[in-house]
Symmetry: C2
């Protein structure tokens, strides 16, 4: 799959995104941190274990039901640190602004970042601003990077996943993707779907406190639950089985997906965590998640099977099963 130019799909979280990383970035930047292919790097500094992550946000539109590019940029980095078991300590932010961008919109976005950072309890400690001429960017782009402190005793890593592990998702999937799509297409639907964009550090701290046997967590953002689980299956080499009927999806999201021809499995989430835990632990963990404001609709959705060639298999509601691959076609560009 050779391309001599960047395609939109290289940024959409599917097959081409994966190959851009593994075929272009990794061979040139080769180092053990990047090769883990996880959202945060783990650094040992003295006797401390830190995690460090970065994300740029190019979402279109910048204001959407349930959030905006500012709150999203804060939640995204807080959540990336949290899923690697880190207590987020501090964030940076870099703004790229297009000449002519309305100052009032800029203030609104910075205010939203400040509120999101305060709610998450994570300060934005350093920043940078660049401006490019009209037409050289689309409004504004934001980068946030973050540092967290890890004190969970066992490593949360794809390598910790075991056959028999139970898979939980913390709520209904696809809300963020559906909210942005419906805003973008101006569908004029009556019931407005809101993004689930939220800081998960509080919820995840409670999960980690409840069980010493969490093996892995990831937030199913770009590419959705389907893409991240297909990637985990491939990385771990295990069969991963999902039960379609157990995956929570809101009726409105299902409706939008039918109208637009999307699969909720591949729609982005910005306030959900998927976790792998030791069998027997799932009841306790599910109770903790369900009692948190961001986890009311949590569910056990599948399990890890035997080692093999690392496939993700969906047991459909009708009793059949199908293999789920990293999506190849265009997912939703600029979803985060």
């Amino acid at each position: 799959m050779k391309h001599d130019r960047i395609l939109l799909e290289h940024g959409a979280g599917g097959f081409l995104s994966h190959h851009l990383i593994t075929d272009v970035f990794l061979p040139l930047l080769k180092n053990p941190w990047l090769e883990r292919l996880e959202d945060s790097a783990i650094l040992r500094i003295g006797d401390q274990k830190l995690c460090f992550t970065t994300d740029s946000y190019v979402i279109d539109p910048i204001f959407f039901p349930g959030g905006d590019i500012g709150s999203l940029a804060v939640h995204g980095t807080v959540n990336d640190l949290s899923v690697c078991g880190g207590k987020p300590l501090a964030m940076s932010t870099g703004f790229i602004l297009e000449e002519g961008f309305p100052m009032e919109d800029l203030r609104r976005i910075i205010r939203s970042m400040a509120e999101a950072a305060a709610k998450a309890g994570v300060p934005i400690v350093t920043g940078d601003t660049k401006v490019v001429a009209r037409g050289a960017a689309d409004g504004l782009f934001i980068n946030t990077s973050g540092i967290g402190l890890i004190d969970y005793p066992s490593p949360l890593s794809v390598e910790s996943i075991q056959p028999g592990d139970v898979i939980i998702v913390s709520g209904a999937i696809g809300d963020h993707g559906a909210a942005v799509l419906s805003k973008r297409r101006e569908l004029g639907l009556k019931s407005e779907i809101r993004s689930d964009s939220a800081p998960l550090n509080g919820l995840i701290a409670q999960i980690l406190a409840a069980s010493p046997d969490i093996h892995f967590m990831r937030d199913p953002t770009r590419g959705g639950l389907g893409a991240i689980l297909a990637e985990i299956a491939a990385q771990s080499g295990f069969l991963i089985e999902l039960r379609e009927k157990d995956i929570p999806v809101r009726e409105e999201v299902r409706g939008i997906c039918e109208i637009l021809g999307f699969d909720p499995l591949f729609l982005a989430n910005e306030g959900k965590v998927t976790l792998f835990c030791a069998p027997g632990d799932e009841g306790r963990i599910l109770n903790v998640i369900k009692s948190h404001e961001y986890g009311r609709d949590a569910a056990v959705i599948g399990a890890v099977g035997e080692p093999g060639r690392g496939r993700l298999v969906l047991r459909t509601a009708f009793g059949g099963s199908r293999e789920v691959d990293l999506p190849v076609g265009e997912l939703v560009p600029r979803i985060c």
Copy 2:
């Protein structure tokens, strides 16, 4: 100075950049780290002192004599960590790519980042890639953030600056700005000026090892030596005196400035450090700098005077003097 839209000058490192930070970002994100107005935030984690910094790079053109956007992004973050006294430990990188960007150029830039990171001895440990449609960005933008470990005993801070402090610059100023300008305008000059883009962590480690009495350092990037010293004068409240005849400027840079109507004092540098040290220490420090490959043309260029209203004054080569303010008009947009 109210503007209801972002102007190019808001990103150029002068007066409007300063006011965008102090009037828009700071009041909304208000916290003690940001209020220091320094390039890196200092964080205490356990008994360790870390610094954390971020910068986005939007330089135009992306390839220029002496470097490219990739090496620049590495050097910029390495240098920001180094001037706060930090030993750089790790960097992140976030790419925003325009659909259609040539894969070969992307590989060339990543290779250049890898080489710059290897030369500086600082790994790129985590990353992110986004793609936007044709016309929604100009080729590519890169963010790098970084973490460093500080073990210099006294704080390198504007607040540590004292009357009588001696000011040193590590070499000739304006090379980066002049190189980018001459490339951009296709001046067709015979002698090609190269950017000074370089990693300063090695040089700065030697400076810190040579003297326990460095008070402050900054790399005079966007806005040049003039803008950063004017800002330091305003922040510290001290008179800062510069001797024009002692400021090293290459003949070619002076020539370009005359042709294009720029002042080398406000041209960006990407491989220079300006430092404030206790009087009496400057000889030893200058020797250390001059014996380093990136410091051959270092010079003592001025001194800190009495407290007052925080002015930067240039003693001109002709025996006069003039006050230097943060530049108001357009400096050079997209210089870094």
